[in-house]
Amino acid sequence: MPPRQPEAALPPLVAFLANRTRRDTAARIETQAEQADREFRDWTRRISRGDEHAFTHFYELYHLRIYKYLLALTRGNEHDAREVLQTVILKAAKSFKVFPDDQRLWAWLCRLSRNAYIDLLRRKNRDSRFVPIDDRSLDFAAAEPSKDRTEQAFADAMAQLPEEEQELVREAYVDKRPLQQLAIEAGSTYKAMESRLGRLRLKLKTNVLTLLRNENRS
């Protein structure tokens, strides 16, 4: 039979164990974070040294994110957003640096995007035959677009859709349910479902771009 522990000794023991567990957990989290940072740094170093696979991975991860940011920056101007995206990607490919984490990399990409957009506006102003009376475009470009403005505009655009259509696009793109299954449930053909989703995507895109444009005016 084990000897009885004095009652007064229990709380310190519990506190000690709790502290130790907390310390271990904190150390484990810290180690994981350090490892993630190291991996991120290695990955960015490989890109900066010209590793094509690493660059492809970067492109897959970031090109849509940059495009969304640029849509907000250009106030829903798709053409400008694409032109600036091209400049940003090529600049990044030429002068990629080593970054310790995603935040620093994203901040750098945002800076590249803003500078490229300002350059584009300057070029447009230089090339245009007429001098605008109220040339505030450069100020707009220099201003940091509010975080996740495209997502906000998208949320508003989604809210404009009927409940049924919202559910449909979520099932198709968030839950990634097969189109065939969705078509059967809706009592239509695969082709009809595909066309319907295509129309919904277009409607959503138009609404998002319109909201971003109107945000500029307001």
């Binding site: 998208f154 949320a155 793109y173």
Partner: protein, 133 residues
């Protein structure tokens, strides 16, 4: 840590909406252009590194050559300097006839005293002995 999908669960719908067919083809060609730029930049870097290495090698070789050739130059100069520094010593080796020719004719003569050659001046006022010539 919250990801974008946690904050905005509808993000895939947004991406599907903005990335239509025209954007997909644009994105594919942009990706290829990016890869080409990365490749080009890598080649430039490799050339720069090679040039830097070559410059270093040439620099080191030049330095090595200079450090090696410097003592040879000194050795070459030394014989030129040597006669100048030893010019006084070379007066030792003038002949007896040359020495006598330095004085007025008949004013002095060479004589051997106790087995040593001495220069003897014939006039009393200017008579003196030169112990060594």
């Amino acid at each position: 840590m919250k990801t974008e999908a946690d904050v905005y669960p509808d993000t895939p719908v947004l991406e599907a909406a903005i990335a239509d067919e025209t954007f997909s083809s644009f994105a594919a060609s942009l990706q290829q252009a990016g890869i080409r730029a990365v490749r080009h930049h890598r080649h430039i870097r490799q050339v720069q590194i090679a040039l830097a290495q070559l410059t270093c090698v040439v620099g080191l070789a030049t330095l090595f050559w200079f450090t090696r050739s410097e003592p040879q130059q000194l050795a070459h100069v030394a014989p030129v300097i040597a006669p100048a520094t030893h010019g006084a010593a070379s007066a030792h080796y003038i002949s007896e006839a040359q020495m006598l020719a330095m004085f007025p004719n008949g004013s002095c003569a060479l004589a051997e005293v106790n087995g040593r050659k001495e220069l003897v001046f014939l006039e009393l006022s200017s008579t003196r002995r030169v112990e060594k010539y």
